[in-house]
Amino acid sequence: MTKRVLRAACWVLSACAWCWVPGAVLGAVVLGATLVAQQPPDRARPPQPGPPPPLNLPAIQKAKLSNGLPVWVVELHEVPVAQVNLLIFSGSSSEPGRKFGIAGLTTAMLEQGAGSRSALEIADAIDYLGADLSAGSGFDSSALRLHVPVARLADALPIMADVALRPTFPKEELDRQRQQRLTSLLQGRDDPATIAAVTFARVLFGVEHRYGTPLSGTAETIKAFTTDDLRGFYQSVFRPDNAAMLVVGDVKLDTIVPMLEKQFGSWRPSGSAAPPVKFPPVDQPATRTVYLVDKPGAPQSQIRIGWIGVPRSTPDYFPLVVMNTVLGGSFSSRLNMNLREQHGYTYGASSAFDMRASAGPFVAAAGVQTDKTSEALKEFFNELNAILPAVPADELARAKNYVALRYPSSFETTGDISRRLEDALVFRLPDDYFSKYVQNIQAVTAADVQRVARQYVAPGKFAVVVVGDLKAIEPGIRALNLGPVKAMAVDDVFGPKP
């Protein structure tokens, strides 16, 4: 009891250094809770937060299996679960010869037959353990991710190892996956937000560049893949010298590493490594162009505005994070305050830099009501232009604090931490990346923000995609004179219906 009161007093005292009215708070401690409850609080003076809590990052313990496979372990003993990810440093960006979609399909096929088990047997075994095993690819990596009650980890790991190391690529399962994917592509045509995203990528990067086509590929590529194609891709990228293992959860380094050694330590490359794939050169848009896709009768227009942004390795990472937070990366950002809170045109407006190994898109986006489409476009460009002059000090401080102060609490779940470790591995972030993150954000100046805004935000050259009811919105959009207007059909974006 005494200890608690003392600790409480310290907490309040330390907060007082930052308070507007230290006397009042000190009084609260001395006089006790009962009296405080009887005095109405002074609501004219909102409580000021005390000094931010220290950054106590969970330790990353690094080991290696006998075949050289790196293993990163973070122990979290709060909940009896574990996350085990096998990360492969190749994704869709490594697809050879326009085989768009082969990375995702190959990765998905791992679970469709492995070792002595069929697709149904793998699913049954994993489900029976109360576990979840998923397989997927992004542009820069692929992964098998296992989440499992820690009591069942030893039972689940051999299944995961079969799936990762001994896939069988049954032909009938490939046909199942193929039909699943072709049908999903067809369904993409239903959703205006999907159409807008696909169109935006296509007009920026074109048909030859990997970033110009959805991760899953096109109907044409999906129809063509054979099990030999998949095996070939698997052998060239699923290799211990192109992989890392992450374990986060209720485990101990000295017990988990031998378990992994037993399952993955004898893994050897089964073919030659894939040569790196070079993207075709791609230029920024030369002039601002408006691309319209008709969705007759749509009550909202889906808007995407932007151009090619930056790679994850950009030296301007921290200024860009802060600049984007001001522009469209938080609830109180300018785009959301303008288009949602001030004008009510939308349920939400935002912006983002999608940073990949190569420069991904920068996009500002919203779904806006049909009869306010041109008004909304005008406000988008008002804000995109307004980010070019210097950002006021209070707004800059708010954005920096929003990003920096929440950072220590963002290492909470096994999923949170494993995602951060994946980023660190895939993008080869420096060892002190996490520990220096907060100070790197706080070091960003107004001049930095203005410099990156001017360098990476070019409202006069942006591609503008609008998916909506053209009969209702086209005249208004044309009247804005944003630039040349091109009409596109859904088939131009997705290809002919599968």
Partner: protein
């Protein structure tokens, strides 16, 4: 770093899954104005969540004002007596915090997540809108959020493929006048009709501290938090409890069938039944039945429709539990060239099978293991929607006991295969249900 918020005690007679038993320590008290407070310390990361449930949702709306509980939720972020418009979000963001709210049929919840040094700011903001929301409310504020909410409806219903289905299903399941008949998001014309006066009346009727419960969870000291809560929430005036609701009976006496066109490529079938309310006998059984029908590749419906016959793109089943009445849903999308009728025929065959013969012991155990594991997964996060704070508030609201985790797991562990068969027979009659098909619009 200290990570010792949960106490795990090995159960003596552990069932098949051999999971440790869990306890969530908490402190509970009530302020003189009727506000229930629940505190749970967890020092694993330096953050706290302030989570409030108001025991009012769209079920309390009246005809002509549907969607109001949710519109009101939006107004709770627009400032209050001592917080000017915009300051709620900008102060929290300056402190590294974030916040949100959500509305369902029976409740409205709010959370503020902040670094632990900003606990008092979060309590101040939460208390100010509980006590003094109307001081800054104006018709203009209502108009602004009305437009936002209408766009939320457009985005989630009209401009969303199959978005109209859930609206139609509730209209078919529940008779007019039943509080679950209308959608939580409301009808457009009712959103248009909502007025400033409605806001005043709703606040006075439903937002009294005695109709709310406050959970603070995370990295704080219980004694300090208690003092701060007493400081900021004690001046909020008590209000009368809301009158009890008159709830019209709801029962399906026949098949109700409807087919509606939408801008979609593929037909989708929805089957819906009225089922026991949340936590009533049968509710947990139907969760397991849903999993046996459509959870995972080896589930009855997935295996036949998607895996073997390949006539469906997807199939799902779930018990949508709510306080007054639940609904059980099966949803399946046809592959190109196939019809909703084909899907329905197979689904009915599988339902009849489960009505006649219990599932295998393996199927039941697989499902229970998945459900049990989900309880542990849910304990990984403290804040936000579905974090520990939100779950403590949910259990308190529904059972009076914030730490009802083990009792909840026990509901499932008690089930036998014959319980599943009996539930399929009792609650999923083929001749008393809603059958809705959304199909591609015919070209004129």
């Amino acid at each position: 770093m200290k990570r010792a918020a949960l106490l795990f005690v090995l159960a003596l007679a552990a069932p098949a899954a051999a999971q440790p038993k869990l306890e969530i320590p908490y402190t509970q008290f009530r302020l003189p104005n009727g506000l229930t407070v629940i505190l749970h310390e967890d020092h694993s990361v330096p953050m706290v969540t302030v989570n409030v449930w108001y025991h009012v949702g769209s079920a309390r709306e009246r005809t002509g004002r549907t969607g109001f509980a949710h519109l009101f939720e939006h107004l709770m972020f627009m400032g209050s007596g001592h917080v000017k418009p915009g300051e709620f979000d900008s102060w929290l963001e300056s402190a590294g915090g974030d916040n949100n709210g959500s509305t369902q049929n029976d409740r409205t919840n709010y959370y503020i997540n902040v670094p632990s040094n900003a606990l008092e700011l979060a309590l101040f903001l939460e208390s100010d809108r509980m006590g003094y929301l109307l001081d800054t409310m104006t018709p203009k504020t209502v108009d602004a959020q009305r437009d936002v909410v209408k766009n939320e409806r457009r985005q989630s219903v009209e401009n969303q493929p199959y978005g109209i289905a859930q609206v139609l299903i509730n209209e078919m399941l529940y008779p007019e006048g039943h509080p679950y008949h209308w959608p939580v998001i409301g009808y457009m014309e009712d959103l248009t009709a909502a007025s400033y006066d409605d806001v005043v009346a709703f606040f006075k009727k439903f937002y009294a501290p005695s109709n709310a419960s406050l959970v603070v969870a995370g990295d704080f000291d219980t004694a300090v938090a208690r003092r701060l809560i007493e400081k900021w929430f004690s001046d909020i005036k008590a209000g009368p409890p809301p009158e009890p609701m008159a709830i019209p009976a709801a029962a399906l006496t026949s098949r109700k069938t409807r087919t509606v066109g939408d801008k979609v490529q593929l037909p989708r079938l929805y089957l819906a039944w009225l089922t026991p309310r949340h936590l009533a006998p049968g509710d947990a059984t139907l969760d397991v039945l849903a999993d046996i029908l459509a959870g995972g590749k080896n589930s009855r419906l997935y295996k036949r429709l998607v895996y073997d016959m390949q006539i469906a793109q997807d199939v799902s089943a779930f018990q949508a539990s709510a306080a007054l009445s639940s609904s059980f849903m099966i949803i399946a999308t046809a592959r190109p060239g196939h019809t909703a009728e084909e899907l329905q025929k197979v689904i009915d065959e599988e339902i009849v099978k489960l009505q006649t013969e219990p599932p295998t012991a393996h199927e039941l155990e697989r499902s229970l293991n998945q459900i049990e594991a989900s309880f542990y997964n849910r304990l990984e996060r403290v804040g936000g929607f579905s974090g520990k704070g939100d779950q403590l508030n949910a259990y308190y609201t529904e059972t009076g006991d914030p730490d009802w985790f083990n009792e909840d797991v026990a509901r499932y562990r008690a089930l036998s295969a014959s319980d599943i068969r009996a539930a399929a027979a009792e609650f999923l009659p083929l001749d008393k249900r809603v059958e809705l098909t959304i199909e591609p619009e015919k070209k004129p």
